[in-house]
Symmetry: C2
Subunit: 139 residues, 2 copies
C-alpha cells in the first residue's frame, strides 16, 4: 500500500483518485521546493488528464491542511499557496535579484519570538518570516 494511501487513511479521509492525485502533485512540487496555489494544482491535474473540479481542489487542500498533511501560506500575493508538511519548520530567505529561495531555521529567533509573544500576554501560534537579501559583492 503506497504511503499516499496510508496518509489519507490515517487522516480519516477516503482514498479517492482526486485526493491521491493532488497529494502526488504536491509531493513532486515539494521536491522542487515550489509552493502551489489551488489554481496551480488544478492546472497540474488538467495536464495529467485528470478531470477534477476546482471546488474539489479547494476542498481537498483544506482537508489536507486540517489533517496536517500540508501547510498553507498566505504570502502578500492575495492567494494561498500550499506545500507538503514536513513537520520541520523553516523560514525563507528570498534573493531580490535572482529570486532564489533559501530555507533556514534559527533557534535564537525562534526562541525570541516565543518570549516576545509571552511578554505581551499571548502565546505564539504561528509565524511568518521572510528575509529579503542580496548577494554580497565578491560572494
Amino acid at each position: 500500500m503506497p504511503f499516499e494511501t496510508q496518509d489519507l487513511k490515517k487522516a480519516g479521509l477516503k482514498v479517492t483518485l482526486p485526493r491521491l492525485k493532488i497529494l502526488q502533485i504536491l509531493e513532486s512540487s515539494s521536491d522542487q521546493g515550489t509552493h502551489l496555489s489551488a489554481e496551480d494544482v488544478y492546472k497540474a491535474l488538467l495536464e495529467a488528464e485528470e478531470e477534477v473540479g476546482l471546488a474539489t481542489v479547494y476542498r481537498v487542500l483544506t482537508q489536507f491542511e486540517s489533517a496536517g498533511l500540508v501547510q498553507r501560506h498566505n504570502f502578500e500575493t492575495g492567494h494561498s499557496v500550499y506545500e507538503i508538511a514536513t513537520g520541520e519548520h523553516h523560514d525563507h530567505m528570498v534573493c531580490v535579484d535572482g529570486g532564489d529561495v533559501i530555507e533556514f531555521t534559527d533557534s535564537v529567533i525562534e526562541k525570541r519570538q516565543h518570549q516576545i509573544a509571552e511578554e505581551h500576554g499571548y502565546e505564539l501560534v504561528d509565524h511568518s518570516l521572510v528575509l529579503y537579501v542580496r548577494k554580497k559583492p565578491q560572494g
Copy 2:
C-alpha cells in the same frame, strides 16, 4: 496650509475632501496603533457624515500606498489593512482570534537576521515578520 494638504500635493494628488478625510482617519488610527481595513475607513467616513463611496476608499488607499503615504499589510485575515507610513521599521503580532495587531521591534531578532544573511553570503535588504498569537487564558 495643513500638512495633509502638503502631503497630497507632494504626491501629485489633487486635494479633495475624500482624500483629506481618509488621511485624517488613518492618522488618528495611527495614534492608537490601529491598522484599518478599507471597510474600517469606509465606516469611519460614514460616522463622520462624509458621503464617500467604498470604491473611492479603495482607490485612494491604493494611491496613498503608491505615494508612500501609507503601508499596506496582508496578514492572514483575508483582507488588507493600512497604516500611516512612519519610516520607522517595526514588525507585527496578529491575534488570530480578534485580529488585533500589536507592533513591536526586537533588537535580538533584528541582529540575528543580519547575521543569518551574512552567514549565507548575502546582505539583508528587507524583511517581513509576523507573529500569529492567541491571548493566553487568564490574560
